[in-house]
């Protein structure tokens, strides 16, 4: 994008385009769920500051890695200790 392509005052005319921003790029650690321990309470879903945790078809939870920054709040809040962070290797 060149300077000539910017709108006056750098206004962004497309609403809600923050959703395109891949905050998952910030991540160095990734949360993984242990289904043996998970009681499907949804505390991780509620506490996720980026709304990056969704419910799977079988009522467990997973992180949307496009947005998940790997902050670890879900790990900290999980009642049964079912979530742990693993190193991103890619």
């Amino acid at each position: 994008m060149t300077w000539k392509d910017l709108n006056v005052g750098c206004v962004i005319t497309e609403a809600g385009n923050a959703a395109e921003y891949k905050s998952g790029d910030w991540r160095s650690m990734r949360p993984v769920w242990d289904k043996e321990r998970c009681i499907q309470c949804g505390v991780c879903y509620i506490f996720c500051p980026d709304a990056a945790i969704y419910k799977t078809e079988d009522n467990y939870f997973e992180a949307d890695l496009y947005y998940c920054k790997g902050c670890g709040i879900c790990v900290k809040e999980c009642v049964t200790g079912a979530i742990r962070l693993v190193e991103e290797e890619e």
Binding site: M1, W3, L6, G9, C10, T13, A15, G16
Partner: protein, 391 residues
């Protein structure tokens, strides 16, 4: 028919804002700007001006509110001085980056410390690089005219930038002068209703003031710089149009008795009046002097300035602010830079004078003229001299 009425210049300035039919005013009172804010609040309270008058707890809030109202599509005005400008300065830079066509009168006053309420240009130089259009008026009529024109220029879709009208504190703000006040019909024919290019509207949402990562910030600054530079011909066009309407045409650089002059004084703001009187007297004594007044400080009118000083041997710049430890007052530093590419540039002698309300009378211009001759004769024109300081 326009009326010519004796009034305080601050009242004349508020009349211009009333006639511009602003939608929103957010300001915090500070000497010497207070009378403008007071008078505008009376207009709103009396129903003479249909606007939101938003009293705020600080100038930082004043400029923040102005950004909000302007972003919502309201014609917006504020005014301040000195410490008030310093406090709002954070948002002053944001207003120009967001290209919000706010109009502000700055009643120029020195910055603390020591605490001083009196007039110089220290405050405006604090925000020299804030990206606003910055113009200086010399008398009450000019302040009235420039303020009305400021709305039209700022809101022009080729410009869309905030506009700062500089008015010397006390020397102008508290002086009673005859001012020709236009009638509403004439103003309405000149100044159309503000038509925002973008505005905050829940039915048509946009993002204003988004952040920029390093891979885009440089492009935003280039766009902002080009935008400010491109405002110059529009400013000239609108001042011409105003001239056809009123008989008073303003120019980015104006000269007085410059014909045949070997030396020109260079001033900004109200000093132009006294300097004219001094030039008259010195011309009677046979001295080849004239005057060059910089009306438009940003965008700086390089071409007009070069034309104004063509063939002149010496420029005596009267600076009204200090760049401590720097190359000279901000105006002289700018002018030396502007002359650098010329093959035979005039010599520049820089005096810092009139700080914090210290009088600079016609006799002082004569004294500076002779002092400049001495400095040139001795070959010592580098840097600057603080005129009249007690050694």
């Amino acid at each position: 028919m326009p009326k010519r009425v004796g009034m305080e210049v601050s009242i004349g300035a508020s009349e211009a804002v009333r006639l511009a039919n602003v939608d929103a005013i957010a300001a915090y009172p500070i000497t010497p700007q207070t009378h403008i804010v007071e008078h505008l609040s009376e207009f709103v309270a009396n129903g003479e001006l249909d606007a939101e008058f938003i009293p705020v707890e600080s100038e930082h809030s004043a400029m923040s509110v102005c950004c909000g109202t302007s972003a919502a599509g309201a014609r917006t005005f504020t005014c301040t001085s000195s410490q008030g400008l310093a406090l709002m300065s954070e948002i002053v830079f944001i207003a120009s980056a967001m290209q919000l066509p706010i109009v502000m009168i700055l009643a120029n006053r020195s910055l603390s410390g020591p605490l001083s309420i009196w007039n110089d240009h220290t405050d405006v130089m604090l925000v020299r690089d804030c990206g606003w259009i910055q113009a200086f008026g010399e008398n009450g009529q000019e302040i009235f005219d420039l303020t009305l024109c400021a709305f039209k220029i700022a809101e022009d879709h080729r410009v869309l930038l905030p506009f700062m009208v500089n008015m010397d504190g006390f020397i102008l703000s508290h002086v009673i002068e005859p001012i020709e006040i236009l009638d509403q019909e004439t103003v309405d024919s000149f100044l159309p209703v503000y038509n925002p290019l973008y505005r905050l509207d829940p039915d048509n949402p946009v993002t204003m003031g988004a952040f920029a990562m390093p891979d885009l910030y440089t492009e935003t600054k280039k766009a902002q710089d080009e935008r400010l530079k491109a405002s110059l011909p529009v400013i000239e066009e609108i001042w011409e149009e105003y001239g056809k309407l009123t008989g008073r045409t303003y120019h980015p650089v104006e000269t007085y008795k410059a014909e045949g002059a070997k030396t020109l004084f260079v001033t900004m703001g109200s000093f132009g009046e006294t300097a004219s009187t001094a030039v008259d007297a010195m011309r009677e004594d046979g001295e080849p002097v004239g005057l060059c007044k910089i009306r438009l400080w940003r965008p700086f009118p390089f071409q007009a300035f070069h034309e104004a000083v063509k063939g002149v041997e010496t420029l005596i710049v009267i600076d009204r602010a200090t760049s401590y430890g720097g190359p000279g007052g901000p105006v002289a530093a700018e002018i030396r830079s502007a002359l650098y590419t010329l093959d035979t540039p005039p010599k520049v002698v820089d005096f810092i004078a009139g700080l914090a309300g210290r009088d600079v009378a016609p006799g002082d211009y004569k004294a500076m003229y002779h002092r400049a001759q001495e400095k040139i004769a001795s070959g010592d024109i580098a840097g600057y001299e603080i005129y009249g300081v007690r050694d």
